[in-house]
Subunit: 400 residues, 2 copies
Amino acid sequence: MLRKVGAFDPVPRDDLLERINGLRRLMANAGIDFALLIQNVDCFYFAGTMQKGMLVVPLDQDPLIFVEKGTERALMETPLTVTPVKNDKEIKKILIDRDILKGMAGLELDVVPVSMFDRLKRVIGFDRYADVSELIREVRAIKSPFELVQIHKSGEMLAHVFAKARDVVREGKTELEIDAALVAEGRKVGHQGFLRMRGINQEMMTMTVQAGYTGAISTMLDGPITGVGVTPAIPQGSSFKKVERGIPVTIDYGGGYNGYITDETRSFVVGELQEVFRKPYETARLIIEDVMTYGKAGTDCTEIFSRSYKIAKKAGLEEYFLGHGDGKVAFIGHGLGLEINELPVLTARHSRALKEGMVFAFEPKFVLPPYGAIGIEVDFIVRENRLERVTKNSIDIVQL
Amino acid sequence: MLRKVGAFDPVPRDDLLERINGLRRLMANAGIDFALLIQNVDCFYFAGTMQKGMLVVPLDQDPLIFVEKGTERALMETPLTVTPVKNDKEIKKILIDRDILKGMAGLELDVVPVSMFDRLKRVIGFDRYADVSELIREVRAIKSPFELVQIHKSGEMLAHVFAKARDVVREGKTELEIDAALVAEGRKVGHQGFLRMRGINQEMMTMTVQAGYTGAISTMLDGPITGVGVTPAIPQGSSFKKVERGIPVTIDYGGGYNGYITDETRSFVVGELQEVFRKPYETARLIIEDVMTYGKAGTDCTEIFSRSYKIAKKAGLEEYFLGHGDGKVAFIGHGLGLEINELPVLTARHSRALKEGMVFAFEPKFVLPPYGAIGIEVDFIVRENRLERVTKNSIDIVQL
């Protein structure tokens, strides 16, 4: 019944077991004996359900999916065994009975708040503990074939929305009108409703449209083009700024299918693109074409960053590359999956070789105050010998 | 320039100073000497800006608004003094120079993750600490006249969207089609883009539409009618379920203006409402009419809960009231403001007198598996001698 309305598209059992085993291998290396997972996305990744409760992954026993609320749904969502419980005390009792509460506990210290941690420590009663988040992020960085299917479907949704944008972007329309129409288009075909970004204060819009100087004002969000929004209470996203002839409109949109996020940006222009934006746009395109000539499993993320930077510098545009002033960001790409800030991060600072099955958004963008911003963002799957685009849609600027 | 596109509607200086003084009074009572605030919403509430950084509120000195990114915007957004910094070490130096780092530190332990807390403790270097979150929640529970203006504007946006729903709800349409069209309607007129809910794993849709049995399936979200969504990765919200004749469609929507959330629910039906839903709907209406006869500053939240419960029980509907089975929630109302789970919480368990200036959503709802759900939700402002509706729109079921 739930499948009919789209709400039930479960993660295969083998995928879940492979993910759990991947985590266990890293836990064993790190000396962690059992993981207590709380965050909804991590629980979903390893258990296939995020109904309210806790996921416990011991090194040498079956995982325990404890559910306090939404039990009926959890039973439908996961092929693994669910253990309904009323509260944390019951969880403690079961963990003691199974002799799990010994040695080093692993918790998601990057997201679990202090007061919740203190309560868990008191009620569940573990002694030594370590951060298991980086291990989880490592496992999640490599996508399985099932996950890549979800990402492709998310990309199809995104391509559909960008195709519709040709009919929606018009001179005189506000960023918000364009945003509203296109987000609705995605939602109608089953967009999951929102995108997730890991960590406190990390908030994402599904779409952000910038039609001029609003693309050139920096704000707190860690992205090169973030928009000014409609209030200092949410200082990002689309605004009442209207589309003007010759000034590019950047549309940054995230598909969302069965949890999996895609994240691309296209530029649109009514009439002839103003001179100041032409070289930046061509340079963004060059950077994308370049990475596709050499990127593959084994390529170091810092190499991609520095080669891209050199192309921007050669064009004399390094001051505007990836933001301007205190709005400049340190990365040109970021991993995609159930969250929009997964591994890998493509910066100059962190050496990391791409691995087969990684998925990342790549976003050469230029911010040109006070005029506006322009850029392209595409999503890549890392293959053994190449980078594969998630969508097949054109990266050309769309002239209207 | 930013005001023109809607992005700049600042909080008045006097409001900010009054809020900070309110917090200081509670800090003094609790023995907290200085607060280090990190969460974006708390920072916005006390500083008028949430650009990236930290807000430090000492008991006996001016607050320090440290900004690392988005400085230019922070300077426009807040009438208070901004201190641009590069990193936390600089913050530490300034705090030491001003002799602020002594005594008891207050932090938002309900939202600050363990690893961030550990880093702050190490880098900033405070010794004793306490949770300041409950104090912040108490201050935020009472809305100023400026805040009530924002809430009224948020309510106008909400009323506009519900008025449009009459044209959108039709037999055969999917929940998602209705959701997409109405969310777009709100966004076009300047909806801020998303709603906030405090705490880990607390995620909110701007709208959720239920057109039958999808309203009767419980999930992890702490609400009586949550929807099934389109994926186990986001198990809430609208789905591909279609509107059927005689079966009520509940639409739960949150307005969002300048940070302030309103949250109401209306029921719609194509044709004659099926018998099973009639008494529940009339009972929901009775409960709202009843609370308006006695609710005012001084009324205890537990009294409101128990009186409402008695009306449901008298109608023989207590089994279905506020959810069914493990989906039953413990509250009939919740505070509204910058977050959707503010104080007061209206439950049977926590005695608390309503105070003038509090704002809360009141949601008598019935969940009737396997048929569906029906209910009403309205927002109230607590006045000295009454409860005032935020919007003036009708609570009648809309027959189409």
